[in-house]
């Protein structure tokens, strides 16, 4: 029974956007499969790991009969990827085996019935809808996503907080040592303030798939789920149920001292200093004196790196240590020319912002070296 006739590229692109979330190892075999559904001229591909589900629908597939079946996602993807770029591909289903034919190649794959495939239903309940440009959302994610915790037992930190409040969309992420905050303006204000914590995997998947253009992204928050729709993709994710820490309290308001840096020279200097830090805790000392900033690092072999930058600073001398990874992360993920650095003393947090921009804040705690 013929399922569809198409080209390699036309099938691979949607498959790749759903197959990214399929985990390599499973106790539930069907979860390593992708659901292929043909109805009329529409081909739907769907993959899930129970927490997230991604679906793509493409039209224009005239041939073939209506059916639904699941097949190993990774194998299908590997086969298609290995075929010549625009090879014609036909897929048919015979006796519970899915046959992929392209030129003189033929692959027979085992299948599992579509009825057994777990699906997440569209959320019901109170619904908040937002529409933003993909580019805006993607950039905002990039500004904070690196601060998410990874496998922390405080599970609510292994994600990213989004808040829709009036005409503003805010994102916050923290791992307990540093915190990133970014805001953007919404075209249509939401009626009711809404908060949700997106799981880490969802955030990474969105960052990967969103396009760098002004096409719309629809976000629907409802109950304990969120739906993202963009292009041909619909991504449904569960939300992390937990209380995110009060981020406003940890953003310092009154740090007296401020220095403006050129971002790229500072980044380059830190990258050089980072070479001679100890692998596991990567401490770098910032020694601030009259008109100069020294970055000093030493490693386990007592080797030392010293970088000196000229800065416009004439306050009290200061010696403060940081995990250099935390500084590199923020400087790498910004795109502005300058950054502003506010601080108080060697024991309190430092605040990094963009000049003339209230929409980005990064707080990092020092390290006593």
């Amino acid at each position: 029974m013929l399922l569809l006739n198409t080209t390699r590229d036309a099938l691979l692109a949607p498959l790749q956007s759903v197959a990214g979330i399929v985990e390599k190892r499973h106790t539930l075999p069907i979860l390593s499969n992708v659901l292929i559904e043909k109805q009329g001229d529409t081909l739907t591909l769907l993959a899930t790991d129970i927490e997230i589900q991604i679906r793509t629908a493409t039209a224009g597939h005239q041939d073939g009969s209506d059916t639904a079946i699941t097949v190993g996602a990774r194998k299908l993807q590997d086969i298609l990827r290995a075929l010549p770029d625009s090879a014609a591909v036909s897929i048919s289903l015979d006796d519970k085996r899915l046959t992929v034919k392209a030129g003189k190649s033929r692959f027979a794959l085992q299948t599992l019935p579509a009825a057994d495939y777990p699906r997440m239903n569209l959320p019901d309940g109170d619904v908040v809808r937002l529409t933003v440009a993909q580019r805006t959302f993607k950039r905002q994610l990039a500004q904070v996503a690196y601060s998410m915790a990874q496998q922390d037992i405080r599970y609510y930190l292994n994600g990213l907080l989004i808040i829709a409040d009036g005409g503003e969309l805010r994102m916050v992420a923290t791992d307990g040592h540093r915190l990133a905050y970014a805001a953007s303006t919404l075209d249509n204000a939401v009626a009711q303030r809404t908060e949700a914590i997106l799981p880490r995997k969802t955030v990474l998947e969105l960052s990967r798939q969103l396009a760098d253009n002004d096409d719309p992204l629809e976000v629907v928050l409802a109950g304990n789920q969120v739906v993202f729709r963009f292009g041909a993709v619909e991504l449904i994710s569960k939300l992390i149920d937990g209380k995110f820490p009060d981020y406003e309290r940890v953003i310092p308001q009154n740090h007296p001292n401020m220095i403006t840096f050129d971002r790229l020279p500072l980044l380059a200097a830190l990258q050089r200093a980072a070479i001679l830090t100890t692998d596991k805790f990567r401490g770098v000392r910032l020694v601030l004196g009259d008109g100069s900033l020294k970055l000093i690092s030493t490693n386990a072999e007592q080797e030392e790196a010293v970088e000196e930058l000229e800065v416009d600073y004439h306050g009290a001398a200061l010696d403060i240590g940081f995990n250099v990874t935390y500084l590199l992360d923020v400087l790498n993920n910004l795109s502005s020319e300058h950054v502003e650095w506010r601080f108080n003393d060697g024991n309190s947090s430092a605040l990094i912002t963009l000049p003339g921009n209230e929409q980005f804040k990064y707080v990092v705690m020092p390290m006593r070296i």
């Binding site: 307990g176 401490g283 386990a300 240590g321 990092v364 006593r368 070296i369």
Partner: protein
């Protein structure tokens, strides 16, 4: 009508006996300790049927006066202390003055004693306290027969004769180890089990623990203020599967103390596989005023006035003694070498912790021979591959450890075996080195040295708050300074909650609450916590493992020699980070025996 009345004396003593006289071994302990306290030079112990039928202890001590004999069997009567001041600085083994009374209440007891200067001896019968003249040269004979003859219920709890004898033997060993200056003899059912002449501590340890132990142990000798620790602690290769062979003496008194056990365990933490137990005989001397022995009727637990100082002292003294690797000292047996009394180097060669005289080992020295042979062809090593000289074995051992002219302890590399082992030739014979394990330990020790000292501390943006019990709460408050030294800044966040504001930077990504809880748990029990160091060391061990050379990496001879020299210079180089041996020695004797050379 009054329902409360005084108990008869016999019953009181029988109740006390329940605590003091648990089994024949406890009778032996009390009587033997009395003999020691009497200033005896020679003590003879005779047991029958595991001590149940009879325990007879004869000493040549000061003896008991005729008038005192009756009093000796009374409760709370003793010559050992007189005032509270004495109690606070007890120097004798016993002091409670209740043992003999309790024993006399549950067994047929007679004491025969001749006080110094008395014209003849007197005997007292424990049952009716009747005195009669008796014949005895000097000292005291305590004879305890038919234990529990009048308390059959108790008798039912006794184990087999063999088991009860084993307990008595263990008790005898404890006293014998503590007092090597006394001549001691133990016989069971008229068969002599131990005959120990007075000698050095080392000789005594060798006689009781076996020469294997002595040759596979490191000598401990440390002093700090009023504290002094001496003795022998086994190398990891001699570790045991159970906790027997662990003897800790405080001022000559055998104790099994939690604090001391913990300190020893920590000292072995880095070199001993988790499931193994070290063997040791350690003597701690301390100002008697600094230790309270009146904690437990059997005096097996003690309490230290400055527990923290004692713990740290024992820990550091042992760590230092164990850190010196066998690779650095030629002549000591290889950690993985077969344990065989005939082959291991004699104890006399080691720096003895009292004097070099060591009769039991000397008697066995005749068979040791091959050192000199290997020495003869050692000279060729490094210059050429001459045919190994087969000089006849000289029948005595070098008295001092080999000096530099005999080359480095681990010798020089010959080549690599299947890309895994390094073969080297040293004075004693063939050395096999697991290069990955050895290199791993070298890197690990280097990382540890660098990171010791004040730790880097990561402050937390969002304090980790977690609920704790009252005991943890108190521990956090009490040990604030210790915790700060590790890098934890902890403050109460509520009546049942602690907030952690900073953590050691190396462990910044570990689950904070769980880490702090286990630190507090250890601090509650012991004055020092090694949880953080242990966690840190785990991390460093992983780093070292990744950094070390892998199997199948071809090394040049120069590289192999460099590794051998580094092993000699590295502490604890005998074991890899996981407690496995890093090298082993195949001596010329073993090889010769294998090839049946000269037979």
């Amino acid at each position: 009508m009054s329902v409360i009345h005084r108990l008869p004396d016999l019953l009181v003593n029988q109740i006390a006996a329940g605590e003091v006289v648990e089994r024949p071994a406890s009778v032996l302990k009390e009587v033997l300790e009395n003999a020691v306290d009497a200033g005896s030079r020679a003590i003879e112990v005779q047991l029958e049927q595991g001590g149940v039928r009879r325990i007879r202890v004869a000493d040549d001590g000061c003896g008991i006066d005729r008038d005192d004999l009756a009093l000796a069997l009374e409760r709370h009567a003793t010559s050992k202390i007189a005032t509270l001041d004495d109690l606070e600085r007890v120097a004798t083994m016993g002091f409670r003055g209740e043992a003999l009374a309790a024993i006399a209440a549950v067994a047929r007891t007679t004491i025969t004693s001749r006080a110094a200067g008395a014209s003849h001896a007197w005997r007292i019968d424990g049952s009716d306290r009747s005195l009669a003249p008796a014949a005895l040269n000097n000292g005291t004979v305590v004879d305890v027969a038919d234990l529990y003859f009048n308390t059959p219920a108790r008798r039912k709890f006794l184990k087999s004769e063999g088991t009860e004898f084993a307990h008595c033997d263990e008790m005898f060993r404890r006293v014998a180890l503590a007092r090597p200056d006394l001549a001691l003899q133990l016989s069971h059912n008229a068969r002599v089990i131990h005959r120990l002449p007075p000698g050095t501590p080392l000789a005594r340890v060798g006689a009781l623990m076996g020469d294997d132990f002595v040759t596979h142990a490191r000598e401990v000798e440390a002093e700090s203020g009023a504290l002094r620790l001496t003795g022998l602690a086994s190398l990891p290769a001699y570790s045991r599967a159970s906790r027997d062979a662990q003897y800790f003496f405080v001022n000559g008194r055998f104790v099994r103390d939690k604090l001391l056990t913990h300190a020893v365990r920590q000292a072995y933490a880095d070199i001993l596989h988790g499931a193994r137990h070290p063997a040791y005989v350690l003597f701690l001397s301390i100002d008697p005023a600094g230790v309270d022995v009146n904690v437990h009727p059997a005096k097996i637990e003690v309490r230290f006035r400055d527990a923290r100082a004692v713990h740290q002292f024992v820990f550091h003294a042992l760590t230092r003694a164990l850190a010196e690797s066998g690779a650095a000292a030629a002549g000591t047996p290889a950690p993985g070498a077969a344990v065989d009394a005939e082959e291991t180097a004699p104890a006399a060669q080691r720096p003895a912790f009292a004097s070099p005289a060591y009769p039991p080992a000397a008697a066995r020295q005749g068979q040791l021979a091959m050192e000199a042979a290997s020495q003869a062809y050692y000279g060729f090593v490094g210059s050429a591959r001459d045919t190994p000289a087969t000089a006849p074995a000289d029948r005595h051992m070098p008295a001092t450890p080999p000096d530099d002219t005999q080359g480095p302890p681990l010798g020089f590399a010959l080549g690599q075996l299947h890309g895994v082992y390094i073969l080297a030739q040293n004075q004693a014979g063939l050395v096999l080195v697991d290069m990955h394990a050895a290199h791993e330990r070298i890197l690990y020790e280097r990382l540890k040295t660098v990171l010791d000292g004040r730790p880097a501390v990561q402050r937390l943006l969002i304090p980790a708050v977690f609920g704790v019990g009252a005991r943890d709460m108190a521990a956090a408050e009490e040990h604030g300074e210790v915790l700060a030294g590790m890098g934890f800044e902890i403050a109460p966040a509520g009546p049942q909650e602690l907030a952690v504001r900073s953590v050691p930077a190396l462990l910044a990504n570990a689950p904070v609450a769980e880490l702090v809880r286990s630190v507090l748990e250890e601090l509650r029990e012991f004055p020092a916590s090694e949880v953080v160091t242990a966690r840190r060391n785990e991390l460093l061990a992983t780093m070292a493992c990744h950094g070390a050379v892998r199997a199948n990496r071809q090394l040049t001879v120069a590289e192999m020699n460099a590794l051998l020299r580094e092993m000699e210079a590295t502490e604890r180089a005998d074991q890899c980070n996981h407690g496995r041996p890093t090298w082993t020695q195949l001596s010329m004797q073993e090889l010769d025996r294998f090839f049946m050379r000269g037979q």
